[in-house]
Symmetry: C2
Subunit: 351 residues, 2 copies
């Protein structure tokens, strides 16, 4: 079945990061623009080969932020707009350098809230030592937008020699996550639905350049090539399940993970059980998955665990076979099942 | 009077490109982010001094496109999203290289229209030999956006030695426009209001890199330095009136223009008179103002006029005094008045 271009229309699912998003991109967005279907760059960052950049490649990325509500425990749309784009660059191994800020604001939006959000955005940018390089402000009428949308695009410089890509996945490589999963998605959802929780679950939103930089340095210091790190990906829309399925498909590898090793906080576990959600499908904003040669996985884990935010870092599985393009999960009871790639994320507007 | 941050709210005027936009930027957006008030970069392009870019500076810019209606005579939101950003780069004398495309789509948007728009976007990008480098797609619920918003950010390389800036304005320099004014604003407005016109006024939306490049080449070929071109600015939101006032303020110069020399098509003239609008306040999407030393103004005009699109290029005035920061217009009857800087553009969502 393919999209019915003549009669079909956009569903919320098309923005979820799941299979629906993937199909919209492959069957409509890329071909309509006349781009080849394998240029999936269009939903991520891109390495630019500019003759004049000299050593170090330029990396360019963009992300619009439409999260609802705009404030939630542990973050808000302002800091998210910075960290989201910083993290896209970090996953390419690129040091974030400059950010654009483009606002689409609904008529009637309170100055006070706009100030608060931009204050958080400015603080987050300074925290990441980022140059807020350019911007744009558009206003649309009442009812023509839901308050505020923020697009940030980012430029970074990738260290020479890095080859981070799903194409670098090989059987035997280890799969590592840098901490507990599902916190951002659950924090936003509970806030949105007005569900009071004894200890509010905090979004994990955080910039990921520092851990990535430290891992690459530690690997080199230990005498290994940075190519022992094959791929990084932040676990945003669609969560671990969507990102692993996407990586399995684009690499053609089978990925095998162990449910009992996946770190999930007790609070998120309890909330997902109560609400019938799968924490592996929830979005994160400060978590990533890393693929590496077994020779460096201890170095990676030690580097991550040296920080309070990385205490829960864990090896969760391996790349197991060349053929495949699918994700298997070994359950806590020892059985093995395919990890679903949902058609849509259960939560729209999570980032 | 300053903005009341505690109780004030966004008006449509704040997106107009007029004085209201300027105040929002200076009194809220920049200070909230902790940026200095003179870093007006935040509403335009920015030159990045990256150590690794080597010869030629990197230029970075962003623009969200919210034009309503999405299709109008002479263009649509897809091609506009490309040309708008290409033109921001061109005004910095930067060859456009790469573009990001970030879509915010309302639930229920027809696939067919999305395809058409993205097809136009792709064609415009190929026409400009642009790399569509990265992208993002977000979907929001019904009533949470007005159909489709497109953000494009762009990267370009500025030739070494260029010093295009309002700070380079000096008394005696000539002021040139590359053609008739008001066409885009009037085309969109007539379409939006459903006003039938015998010969529909076409938007002037067009990429400006080619004329800019040709002017810089012609100047150098004639033995002049490219620094004889002091400043370029595209005449988008707020039109000639807003852009000249902004340049007068940021340069501290007085700008004097002659009403009778400003090219306006008969159709736009008739439509503005009928509707009580000022063509100098209407947005353009393929027009720019250029400031240059008198020694090269003939070269600039000849270069522009060598193309069909530049037939109406014209010198419209001079930088007249150091003190000032204002714009004077000599009317067709010989009188002189200040050219108003409107609080707001008469037309929201023009680009």
């Amino acid at each position: 079945m393919t999209l019915d271009i003549d009669k079909g229309q956009i569903e919320l699912a098309h923005g979820s990061g799941g299979q629906a998003s993937d199909r919209l991109l492959r069957e409509l967005i890329l071909p309509a623009m006349g781009l080849e279907a394998d240029r999936l760059l269009l939903d991520g960052s891109s390495v630019l080969s500019l003759a004049s950049t000299g050593p170090g490649q330029l990396v360019f990325t963009t992300d619009s932020h439409v999260v609802s509500p705009r404030f939630y425990p542990g973050g808000n749309i302002g800091s998210l707009a910075v960290y989201g784009t910083v993290n896209d660059l970090s996953m390419m191994g690129a040091k974030p350098l400059a950010l654009s800020v483009a606002l689409i604001i609904e008529e009637g939006f309170a100055f006070k809230e706009l100030w608060q959000i931009l204050e958080h955005l400015g603080q987050a940018a300074r925290h990441c030592q980022l140059n807020l390089a350019c911007g744009d402000t558009k206003v649309v009428g009442r009812g023509q937008a839901d308050g505020l949308f923020i697009n940030t695009s980012g430029i970074g410089i990738q260290a020479p020699g890095l080859t981070l890509s799903p194409r670098a996945l090989r059987p035997g490589q280890h799969i590592i996550v840098n901490g507990t999963l599902g916190d951002h998605g659950m924090a936003v959802m509970l806030q949105r639905e007005g569900i009071a929780w004894e200890n509010p679950i905090q979004s994990d939103a955080a910039p990921l350049w520092t851990p990535v930089q430290e891992i690459l340095s530690a690997v080199e210091r230990s005498g290994f090539a940075t190519q022992t790190i094959s791929c990084l990906r932040d676990l945003t829309r669609g969560g671990l399940a969507a990102i692993l399925n996407e990586l399995a498909q684009s690499s053609g590898q089978k990925l095998s993970i162990r449910e009992s090793d996946i770190p999930i906080s007790a609070a998120v576990q309890a909330a997902t059980e109560l609400l019938g959600l799968d924490p592996l499908c929830l979005a994160n904003e400060g978590k990533f998955v890393l693929f590496c040669e077994p020779s460096v996985s201890d170095i990676v884990l030690q580097t991550l665990k040296a920080h309070p935010s990385g205490e829960q870092a864990r090896g969760i599985g391996e790349v197991s076979e060349v053929c495949g393009g699918r994700v298997e999960i070994q359950t806590a009871f020892g059985a093995t099942r395919l990890l679903d790639w949902r058609y849509s994320d259960p939560l729209p507007r999570i980032c």
